[in-house]
Symmetry: C2
């Protein structure tokens, strides 16, 4: 029988954080694409649009006027998925009709007063301001809520309904399914090995090198071994003592700003566009659980970008993916190499 | 405290088949949408396109010529994600780098010689031919493979790269994550209750009525209590003895054809378009497991349609959904009511 070659032969990989298997079919990159093309990502937005409810000084639909903000600006979402004060559904003892209560709050956070300043074209100092605001928000919301999800949907193809650079912060009274699965598996690993799963993972990726995109003393960026989306990455804290946003020192913050700038620049340069993605941060649960032992957690960020071949051809997670399990076309190692080779200097000359 | 009202107050629901929680935020339907609009689904396709590799008589990229087929036509995918003969990756004892072998075969199945004949505008007899072909394919492939996934991606927004009505059949040497989760939970339920989960579910939905879309002696169509996609539905076999495609009698097949016609017609009429979705069938595992006891399974189909508000506004499963858990805007009961009220007579007058 032939020798197994990961870049040629289909195989499965296991995500130890979630317990999910992924199908990797690298030979599939050879097929022609005649499906949907994404509209190109606009890269030449105006600095200011008086009709955009996220711009400084604009009056939003509910009559509230945004301040003339100069760095970041946070407000409660005018149409939140989670409200603070809602009645809890009655309990049912039928295992087929289980409901649970859900309380929370949703905030919107503008990154910058200018609509055309995406993260890769900001200065590290501007990104530091954003991280400082994340930490401030996290500190406040984590007192009350068991889970604080900071996430950015970037690009219309990732459901972003406003192109002004911003993220969202959804805080909830319950531990959502994905963090719950991670908490369980991180704990099981820690109990067996006496070390956190992600710090063992960082150590091994640093030795292996083939999935590394960016490396510095505080943060490792890799295309994880079990990546689902073509150019999925994780930014992992190298120090296992970092469990949450509020464990970051000034040095960590500085390096995170540089890391985010470099990663998003590489993304933009990969297909010469303003690269769409959903990203967010995961750390140990908070709220009432804040003082519990979370030695098994490591703080990290995940990026899920939809693009596969070019700025207009995405990977669709449909059919087999929804009904069976995710399937990817190029290997995580091939994706990491492309991102490593993608320039760290942004291709918009007029912005640099 | 106020009384809980499901159509007004956010809450969570539990999917007993997968163990996943869903966030339901019905008040969110009130928010305005200024994000991406889908290009309209073409409804006036030509019957025949000599450049379309799925049409009768056309020569495909690999030089093979399609026959002048008159009902269904099945061939092996020219760019399959799964190949039959590939080497298996070496085993690793590192829990962070687990791989598994994957063998299989991917087939494409054209539904009809005419490109503009989607399921809702076919006759029940034409749909019966399709079901007969599904059963024939299933019988052949299930001998060799543990899992045979028959699925249809319909519409460009669901990653369908060819608008000629067709489905795909991916057969694998492994049990994918989603069926594996179902198998485990169906079994646990059966061990406790002595009845299959889905037949208990059918019985309770028949009594409750508010999530029913279509009902006949053999099949129940519901928007499941735990639906994730706005207009997600399941077609469930009412008879718990039906575990797989090959358990269907002529009467079941007839009624399934009528049910599929009616459901897809209601879908098309909901937003006056050729309604996109991914759908597929799930039944008990096959291959080497064929003779094992699968009393806990019930044969069913699932439809995952992306649209939320109109033919051009979809629900994006991004950000919070990817990082935490799915979130839906209208309740499953509201969705079921809309589908129930959607006409069963197709809106293309020229096709009827
Ligand atoms: O095989 P197709 O139709 O070209 O491809 C489509 O369905 C596949 C199976 O669900 C997915 O893996 C692809 O991402 C999607 O574009
Ligand atoms: O809140 P937005 O940006 O309007 O909405 C976007 O992000 C949300 C959170 O990920 C999703 O639930 C929506 O489907 C998506 O369109």
């Amino acid at each position: 029988m032939m020798e197994f070659i990961a870049t040629e032969h289909q195989h499965r990989r296991f995500n130890p954080m979630t317990g999910q298997w992924i199908l990797v079919s690298p030979h599939r990159m050879k097929r022609p694409w005649s499906g949907q093309n994404e509209p190109p990502q606009k890269t030449n937005l105006e600095e200011f649009d008086p009709t955009n409810p996220l711009c400084p000084g604009v009056t939003r639909q509910n009559g509230q006027k945004n301040p003339q903000y100069e760095s970041t600006f946070v407000f409660t979402n005018d149409f939140p998925a989670l409200l603070e004060d809602v009645p809890i559904p009655p309990e049912s003892d039928d295992p087929l009709f289980q409901t649970g209560g859900a309380r929370g709050t949703c905030r919107v956070m503008c990154f910058h007063p200018k609509s055309n300043k995406t993260l890769p074209v900001m200065t590290p100092k501007e990104i530091r301001c954003i991280i400082d605001t994340w930490i401030k928000e996290f500190q406040e919301l984590s007192k009350k809520y068991i889970w604080v999800q900071i996430f950015e949907n970037k690009g219309a193809s990732m459901g972003c309904s406003n192109s002004h650079p911003h993220c969202q912060i959804w805080s909830c009274s319950f531990l959502p399914s994905e963090p719950q699965a991670k908490d369980k598996r991180f704990r099981e690993y820690y109990e067996i090995h006496g070390r956190t799963m992600l710090n063992d993972y960082v150590r091994k990726e640093l030795m292996n090198k083939e999935r590394i995109v960016i490396e510095n003393p505080d943060w490792l960026v890799v295309v994880p071994f079990w990546a689902c989306y073509p150019f999925e990455t994780m930014i992992i804290a190298c120090d296992s003592k970092i469990k949450r946003f509020n464990d970051l020192s000034q040095v960590h913050i500085n390096n995170l700003a540089i890391t985010i700038k470099e990663l998003t620049t590489k993304y933009d340069n990969l297909f010469n566009c303003s690269f769409p993605y959903s990203m967010g941060f995961h750390g140990a649960p908070t709220g009432d659980l804040m003082d519990k032992d979370f030695s098994h957690w490591t703080f990290h960020a995940i990026y899920y970008p939809p693009l596969l071949r070019s700025s207009s051809v995405r990977k669709f997670m449909v059919g087999f993916e929804l009904l069976c399990q995710p399937q990817r076309d190029l290997t995580p190692e091939q994706a990491a190499e492309k991102l490593r080779n993608s320039s760290g200097k942004h291709h918009y000359t007029d912005h640099i």
